[in-house]
């Protein structure tokens, strides 16, 4: 049986078809275009160019390796980052990572972040780089003499990170706000190495890392 549409119905039919098309559940393609789209959520804190904003404890992320950004986003999603009452910036970051729910989104936004030009933010701390050089001997095994990191050991390049961010993370590792979860294997490794550092020693070693640029 044929159903005759009234005139108004005929007029609305294209709108209906457009509406159904807009609801298409096909996931967007993985890659830079999707990554740029997702990065709009990151930009309010990390900046359009990913250079960060120290005023709200958002670090420079531009140019970090894709594998590292992916790993950190999954860490936030799996609650071994940003799930401690003392890690305030982490608490702010975690829901942002959790909102990446579609398959491929973590890879896409990480690829986009990696494609941005690294910022190498200026120093804000005043540690003793000479004294820090001695402490850095322990870090060399994973982060390398040049501080460029080692993907095989899940060690990120620390030379391009903000010094205040490094200090916060070392404090987090030492307090157990980061690296204390059994499923955070690489975080646990870092935590062990942070335990012996005083706050002054942390600032010294960070000052030394800044000289490696």
């Amino acid at each position: 049986m044929m159903v005759r549409l009234p005139n108004a119905g005929k007029a609305l039919l294209p709108l209906l078809i457009m509406g159904v098309a807009a609801c298409d559940a096909t996931p967007p393609p993985v890659g830079m275009v999707r990554g740029a789209e997702l990065f709009e959520t990151c930009a309010p804190c990390h900046g359009d160019a990913g250079v960060g904003n120290p005023d709200i404890a958002a670090p420079a992320i531009a140019g970090l390796p894709q594998w590292y950004v992916e790993e950190q986003l999954r860490g936030f999603q799996n609650e071994y980052r940003g799930d401690h009452a003392g890690d305030l910036p982490g608490l702010r970051m975690r829901p942002m990572a959790v909102s990446l729910t579609r398959d491929g989104d973590v890879e896409s936004v990480s690829q986009y972040v990696a494609s941005l030009d690294a910022a190498y933010p200026a120093s804000t701390l005043h540690g003793n780089a000479g004294a820090g050089a001695a402490s850095y001997v322990v870090c060399v095994a994973c982060h390398g003499e040049d501080g460029l990191g080692n993907p095989d050991l899940h060690a990120p390049p620390i030379v391009q990170l903000d010094d205040w961010y490094l200090l916060n993370q070392l404090r987090n590792f030492k307090s157990g706000a980061r690296g204390a979860r059994p499923d955070d294997t690489w975080g646990q490794t870092m935590r062990v190495n942070s335990l012996a550092l005083t706050d002054e020693a942390m600032q010294d070693v960070i000052a030394y890392v800044q000289t490696l640029r």
């Binding site: 959520t41 309010p44 940003g82 799930d83 401690h84 009452a85 003392g86 305030l88 608490l91 702010r92 975690r94 829901p95 942002m96 959790v98 909102s99 307090s175 157990g176 706000a177 204390a180």
Partner: protein, 223 residues
């Protein structure tokens, strides 16, 4: 029939107030719409019939306004009495607490500070959790609600509890859970880009389960 869970001592009274408002306003809404469309139909344009001019002072016309107006005011009295009673019981009363917790909102997470085994806040055995609040059923809790950054609103739908958190202030409130279970906690005040995912869970436990949780969580690190 849609049934909404009620898990606090005052949830039912708030629901009843909303029902009272909905029924009284609803009756008048449908009545007014009915009269409105009936009048449009009755006084529709007819061939050869001249439109009447009404000054609005005619008594037999004015009664269509004055009588419903008086009846609506009577309904308002019932609503005001109901609202004041609920406000007094929920917001103006502060029953003796069995325990006190601190709730801290920040972009975009809830931190809960539970008293440890000593049942005293700000002591060494306090338990800090993120996005998980543990309480014991049938116990009255005071909460100190704070915000670290912007306006938030601590909302527990099953308690019918919603309280703004304001930076720089510590706002006291209370609740008494009436049944065990696990329910949503949400932020009910737009607080930034992550507002929509600022969710937490409340775990309402019986005495044994809650005591076991305190024992197991006491080893948690403090900030």
């Amino acid at each position: 029939m849609l049934e909404l869970a009620q898990a606090s001592t005052y949830a039912a009274s708030i629901d009843n107030l909303i029902l009272l408002v909905a029924v009284l306003v609803g009756v008048w809404f449908f009545l007014a719409e009915g009269v409105f469309f009936w009048l449009i139909w009755k006084f529709r344009a007819k061939p050869g019939e001249k439109t009447q001019y009404l000054t609005g002072k005619e008594k037999h016309i004015k009664k269509w306004i004055t009588i419903p107006h008086a009846l609506v005011l009577v309904c308002d009295v019932f609503i005001v009495i109901g609202a004041v009673r609920v406000w007094y019981n929920v917001k103006q009363q502060l029953p003796e607490p069995d325990s006190t917790i601190r709730i801290i909102g920040q972009q975009w997470a809830w931190t809960f500070q539970h008293p440890g085994a000593d049942n005293e806040l700000d002591t060494a055995d306090d338990i800090f959790t993120v996005n998980d609040l543990h309480v014991e059923v049938e116990k009255t809790y005071h909460f100190q609600l704070q915000s670290r950054d912007v306006l938030h609103s601590f909302s527990v739908p099953v308690f019918r509890l919603k309280q703004d958190a304001i930076p720089g202030r510590s706002i006291m409130g209370w609740f008494t859970p009436t049944e065990t279970g696990e329910h949503d906690v949400q932020c009910a005040e737009i607080c930034g880009i992550g507002h929509g995912v600022m969710a937490a869970r409340i775990h309402i436990e019986d005495a044994n389960t809650h005591a076991a949780w305190i024992s197991s969580a006491s080893a948690a690190t403090t900030p």
